[in-house]
Structure formats: structure tokens, C-alpha cells
């Protein structure tokens, strides 16, 4: 039983690590702000949840589990909201997506 939990938590941790790595590579490599926010926003939520779930599996019952669930809830709430706020603020400030810029310049 404990071995199964260990393996599950290891899988969760490793998948989470892979996802954040891919997310940050997207943030580094993508050409403009909106694609970057896409890379960061999408991977961040799932990766953070996976890592926290992996930790929960290690933690077992108790106050620690409760706090981890609390952190997970907060991250699930705040991370998409922050991404939304960023995207909206960037759009309002007049930042256009990569492809659109050229079109407008030519007009």
C-alpha cells in the first residue's frame, strides 16, 4: 500500500516538474507576450497542482494535508485570475499580438 502511494507521489512530482519546465521554456522561447502568458498560465496551474498532490500523498492525514489543500485552493484561485488580469491589462494598454502588429503598421 505504502509503495503504491510512494510511486504515485513520485509520478505526480516528476510530471509536475516536467510541466513547469516545459512551461518556462515556453515563456522563454515564445515570440510575444500573449503566447507567453498562454504557456505560463496553462502549465502553471496543472504543474502546481500535481506537485502539491504529490506532496499530499507523502504527507498523509493531518494538519499538513489541510494546509496543502489550502495552498492548492489558493493557487487554483489566484493563478488564473492573475493571468486574466495580466492579459487584460496588456490588451488595454494597447499591446497587440505578434501577428497583428505588422498588419496595423501596414494600414
Amino acid at each position: 500500500m505504502s509503495l503504491v502511494v510512494d510511486i504515485l507521489s513520485a509520478i505526480c512530482l516528476l510530471t509536475g516538474s516536467f510541466l513547469i519546465l516545459s512551461g518556462v521554456i515556453g515563456v522563454i522561447r515564445f515570440p510575444d507576450f500573449y503566447t507567453r502568458i498562454h504557456a505560463a498560465g496553462i502549465t502553471e496551474t496543472l504543474a502546481a497542482s500535481l506537485i502539491l498532490i504529490g506532496l499530499m500523498l507523502i504527507a498523509g492525514w493531518g494538519l499538513v494535508l489541510f494546509k496543502l489543500i489550502l495552498i492548492l485552493l489558493f493557487i487554483l484561485f489566484t493563478s488564473p485570475t492573475a493571468s486574466h488580469a495580466l492579459g487584460k491589462a496588456a490588451w488595454k494598454s494597447g499591446l497587440k499580438p505578434h501577428g497583428l502588429v505588422n498588419k496595423h503598421d501596414e494600414d
Binding site: D6, S9, A10, L13, L14, G16, S17, F18, I20, L21, G23, V24, I25, V27, I28, F33, R36, I37, A40, E44, A48, I51, L52, G54, L55, I58, A59, L63, V64, K67, L68, L70, I71, F74, I75, T78, S79, T81, A82, S83, A85, L86, A89, A90, K92, S93, L95
Partner: protein, 94 residues
């Protein structure tokens, strides 16, 4: 056995934080920098949680929780102030 995976996760998190810092320095617009800062912040939350388990005292998740909250507040606040600064000095807007 479990520790090994925790260490792997920690190292990945550190690498990711370094890469996010690169974007924060390079980012052409202020929003790129805020995005990288947000990314850095969530990674710090995860890092504190993982480190708590790694050092064997997972009671200290309070710090991670605080960081998650405050990180959100400061990202939102920074965006608000970017907006305010842009609107309070209209002549600089090009």
C-alpha cells in the same frame, strides 16, 4: 527513495526560477516582467513546500501559504499601479 524525487523536483524548480529571471530581465514590455515575476512567485511557493518536506519539518507550510497570498496581491497591485502611472501622466503616452 522519496527524497530522491523531492530533490529532483527542487532542482527543477530552481532551474525554472533561474529561467523565469532571464525572462524578467529580458522581457521587452512591463507585462512580460510581471508575468515572469508571477511565475517566479508561484515557484517559490512550491519550493518552500518541497523544501519543508525535504528538511523533514513540513509544519512550515504557513510560509508558503503567506507567500501565495501576498504574491497574488502584489501582482494585482503592480498591474493596478502600471495602469495608474500610465493614466496619471498622459503626455508621456506615445
Amino acid at each position: 527513495m522519496n527524497n530522491m524525487f523531492l530533490i529532483v523536483t527542487t532542482i527543477t524548480l530552481l532551474v525554472v526560477m533561474a529561467l523565469a529571471l532571464i525572462r524578467a530581465f529580458a522581457g521587452p514590455t512591463v507585462f512580460d516582467r510581471v508575468l515572469a515575476g508571477n511565475l517566479f512567485g508561484t515557484k517559490v511557493v512550491l519550493l518552500i513546500a518541497v523544501m519543508g518536506f525535504l528538511t523533514g519539518r513540513p509544519d512550515f507550510l504557513d510560509v508558503a501559504l503567506t507567500y501565495a497570498l501576498i504574491n497574488f496581491i502584489s501582482v494585482i497591485g503592480i498591474l493596478r499601479f502600471v495602469e495608474i502611472t500610465r493614466k496619471s501622466s498622459p503626455k508621456e503616452q506615445s
